[in-house]
Amino acid sequence: MVAVVPTTGGQASAAVVAQRSSKTGYLLLFPGLAWLGVFFAIPFVTLFMTSLQQPIPGKSGKYTFGLEFGNYVEAFTEYWPLYVRSFMYAGIATVIALCIAYPLAYFIAFRAGRWRSLMLVLVIAPSFASFLLRTYAWKTILADEGFITSTLNALNLLPDDRILNTGIAVVAGLTYNFLPFMILPLYAALEKIDPRLVEAAGDLYASPQTAFRKVTWPLSMPGVVAGTLLTFIPAAGDYINAELLGSTGNRMIGNAIQTNFIEFRDYPTASALSFMLMAAILVLVFTYIRRAGTEDLV
C-alpha cells in the first residue's frame, strides 16, 4: 500500500496511485482475455473458414481452403425447417419456463422466509446429476406405459396416444433442463424489489393486480430478460433433448449440426449451419432486448 501523505506532493502521488491501479485493471483483465482469445476467437475464425471450404475432388471427407459461400445457400435450403422448429421449440419452452419460474421465484423472494436458502438449493440441486442422465430419466417419466402417459390417455387428452418421441416430449425436456436458468435471474431481480414499493402502490390506489402490473413486473424486467435469454439461447442450439426424447420428425438444428460434423463429416455444411444459428440468435436477441427496453431499467 502507498501511504498518501497530505503534503504539496499529495496530488502527484495520487496520480501515481491512479496510474498504477489502472495498470492493475488491465492485468486483471488478461486471464479472461487470453481464455477468450484461445478458446473463442481462434475457433471462431477457424469455424468461419471451415464454413467456406470446398471439397477436394475424389477424396470424400477432405476439404481445402475456399470461398464457397454457396455452402450457406445449400445448408439453408436443406435445413431451414429445422431452424424454424428449433426456434419454435425453444420459444415454447422459454414461455412455459417463464410461467413456471416466475411464481416460484416470486414465492422464494417474498414469501419463503427462512426456507429461502433451502428452496434455492433445491432449484439448483438437479444440476448435481448430469444433464444427459436427467434427460434419460425423462424418457422413463414420459414412457408409453408410464404413469403420465397412461393417465392422460385415460382422459383422452393425447392426440397421438403418446408423449415420448413427439414434440411435446422435446419441449418438456427443454423446459425442464433450462428451468433453473430462468428461476435464478428472476429470483435475483425480484429479491431486489423493495416490498415497500408494492405497499406504496397499494397506498396510491393500485389494486394488488395493478400494483403487480405497474410496479413488480416492470421492476423484474431485467430478470425476465436475462432469464428468457439464458433459457432460449441454449435451448435453441440444444440437440440432446431432441435426440433422446423426440423422433426423426422432431429434429432440431443442433441435431443437423451434430450429424453433419460427426456422421457425414461434412464440416463446411456443419460450420455454415452453426454460423447461421449464431447469426439468427444474435438478431433475435438484439430485437428482443431493444423491444424489452432493458437499458432504461434500473
Binding site: 423493495d194 415497500r196 414499493l197 405497499e199 406504496a200 402502490a201 397499494g202 397506498d203 396510491l204 390506489y205 393500485a206 389494486s207 395493478t210 400494483a211 405497474k214 410496479v215 416492470p218 421492476l219 431499467l297 434500473v298
Partner: protein, 397 residues
C-alpha cells in the same frame, strides 16, 4: 397552485378502541383518539411504542386485531389500502425507481382513472418546488428532493388524511430543520389533516399543533406541545419530552391550594391542579430551565414561597446560549440546571456550594409508584451508572 388548495379536510379521524396484537404482544393497546380535521398531529414515541403500527393501520397496510377506524362517520376499518381516502409518505419514501418524478407524482391519479393529469401534476410539483426535475428519475435526486416528491405523490390525491412515517428520518440535521418548515408551510397551504409519526421530540414539538406521546401501545398524554412540556402528567412524558429533574417523596399535607410533598427531609409545594398522583408516593418534578442557581451565601435572596434545596456543583458545560450545571444534592442525586447566559462572567464553578430554587407554579407532581426512570433512554441510564461508579471509585483528593 389553485389546484392544490381548497382541499381543507372537513372530517375528523377517529380511532376507537384500536388494538393490534402480534402474538401475545399488544403493539397498540385499546387506543381511542380523535384527530381533528385540518390539524397537524404528531404521534411521538420511542421505537417499538406502537406509533408506526397505528399509522399502518390507518393506512390499511396492517389489519387491527380489534377496534375501528373512521373518517367523519364513515367506517374505513374494513377497506383495503387502495380503497381508503388516505395517503402515506413512507419513511424511505418508496419512490418508484422505474418511473420519473412526473409519473411518480401522477401514479395515484392514473390509478383512479383521471384522464388529464398534466396540469394537476405540474401545479403539485410547483408546490414542492420541483418542476424542473419532472423528467428525472428518483435516484438522480437528493434526499431532500426525494422527500418532497414523496409528499407531492401523496398530497396530489387530496387525501382526507396524510400520513407521514418518520418522513425526515433519513435527512441530515440541517436539511431536516429546513424540511420541517417546508412541511409545515405545505400543511398550512393545503389544509389537509397531517398525522406525523416521529421519535424526534423536537420535530414533533416544532411542527405539530397537537402532540400525542405514545408508550407501550398507549397514549400517555396528548395536547399542545407547550402544555405537555410545561405540565407532563406521567414520569414517562416528563423524561421522554425534554429533560426533567424528578425527586422521589411522599405527600405530607396541604397548604392553601398547594399540595406539600416531603422528600429527603425537604418540603416542596406544588399547586394541587399540577399534581397527578393519587397515592401517597409522589414525585416532585421541575424542568432544568425553571431552576435558578445561586451561590449558597445568597440563600436569603430567595422568595419565601419558592421551593429550594442546597447542593454542590459537579459539572459545568458552557453551550453558548446557556450553561448547563449538574448539581449534587445532599442525598447524592444529580439535578440538571440550565441558566441563560445573560450575565457574562458570573458562572458557578465545580465544587461551589449553591442553592437552587424555583417557583411552585413550575413544579409538577407525578405518581411515584413506578420510580423516576420510566422513559429514560436505557443507554443513558447505563451510562449514568458507569459514571456513578467511576466517581465512587475515584481516589479521594
Amino acid at each position: 397552485m389553485a389546484e392544490a388548495q381548497g382541499t381543507r379536510a372537513v372530517d375528523d379521524l377517529h380511532l376507537q378502541n384500536l388494538t393490534k396484537k402480534f402474538g401475545d404482544h399488544a403493539a397498540v393497546d385499546d387506543l381511542t383518539l380523535t384527530i381533528p380535521a385540518g390539524s397537524f398531529f404528531a404521534l411521538l414515541g420511542a421505537s417499538g411504542c406502537g406509533k408506526t403500527t397505528t399509522l399502518r393501520m390507518v393506512a390499511g397496510l396492517e389489519d387491527p386485531t380489534s377496534g375501528t377506524i373512521s373518517i367523519g362517520d364513515k367506517d374505513i376499518t374494513g377497506l383495503r389500502a387502495f380503497e381508503r381516502p388516505v395517503n402515506t409518505v413512507f419513511q424511505s419514501y418508496a419512490l418508484f425507481p422505474h418511473l420519473d418524478i412526473f409519473e411518480n407524482v401522477a401514479f395515484g391519479l392514473r390509478r383512479r382513472g383521471v384522464k388529464d393529469v398534466k396540469g394537476t401534476v405540474e401545479s403539485m410539483l410547483d408546490l414542492v418546488e420541483l418542476s424542473p426535475m419532472a423528467r428525472r428519475k428518483p435516484t438522480q435526486l437528493s434526499g431532500g428532493q426525494q422527500q418532497r416528491v414523496a409528499v407531492a405523490r401523496a398530497l396530489i390525491n387530496r387525501p382526507d388524511v396524510l400520513l407521514l412515517d418518520e418522513p425526515l428520518g433519513a435527512l441530515d440535521l440541517k436539511l431536516r430543520r429546513q424540511m420541517q418548515i417546508e412541511l409545515k408551510r405545505i400543511q398550512v397551504e393545503v389544509g389537509t389533516t397531517f398525522v406525523h409519526v416521529t421519535h424526534d421530540q423536537e420535530e414533533a414539538m416544532t411542527m405539530a399543533d397537537t402532540v400525542a406521546v405514545m408508550n407501550a401501545g398507549r397514549i400517555e398524554q396528548m395536547g399542545h406541545p407547550a402544555d405537555i412540556y410545561e405540565l407532563p402528567r406521567t414520569v414517562f412524558v416528563a423524561n421522554f419530552l425534554g429533560q426533567s429533574n424528578l425527586i422521589e417523596g411522599s405527600r405530607s399535607g396541604t397548604s392553601g391550594d398547594d399540595v406539600l410533598v416531603e422528600a429527603n427531609g425537604l418540603t416542596f409545594a406544588i399547586p394541587s391542579d399540577r399534581v397527578f398522583a393519587d397515592g401517597s408516593a409522589a414525585i416532585v418534578g421541575v424542568r432544568p430551565e425553571k431552576i435558578t442557581i445561586l451561590d449558597a451565601v445568597d440563600g436569603d435572596r430567595i422568595p419565601d414561597h419558592h421551593n429550594r434545596l442546597d447542593g454542590i456543583v459537579t459539572d459545568v458545560s458552557y453551550t453558548g446560549v446557556s450553561t448547563q450545571y449538574l448539581v449534587r444534592t445532599a442525598w447524592d442525586q444529580e439535578l440538571i440546571v440550565f441558566e441563560q447566559n445573560v450575565v457574562v462572567g458570573d458562572r458557578s464553578e465545580v465544587g461551589d456550594a449553591v442553592v437552587l430554587h424555583w417557583s411552585p407554579k413550575h413544579t409538577f407532581g407525578l405518581d411515584g409508584t413506578g420510580g423516576t426512570t420510566i422513559g429514560v433512554d436505557p443507554e443513558v441510564l447505563a451510562l449514568e451508572a458507569v459514571n456513578a461508579s467511576l466517581v465512587s471509585d475515584a481516589p479521594e483528593a
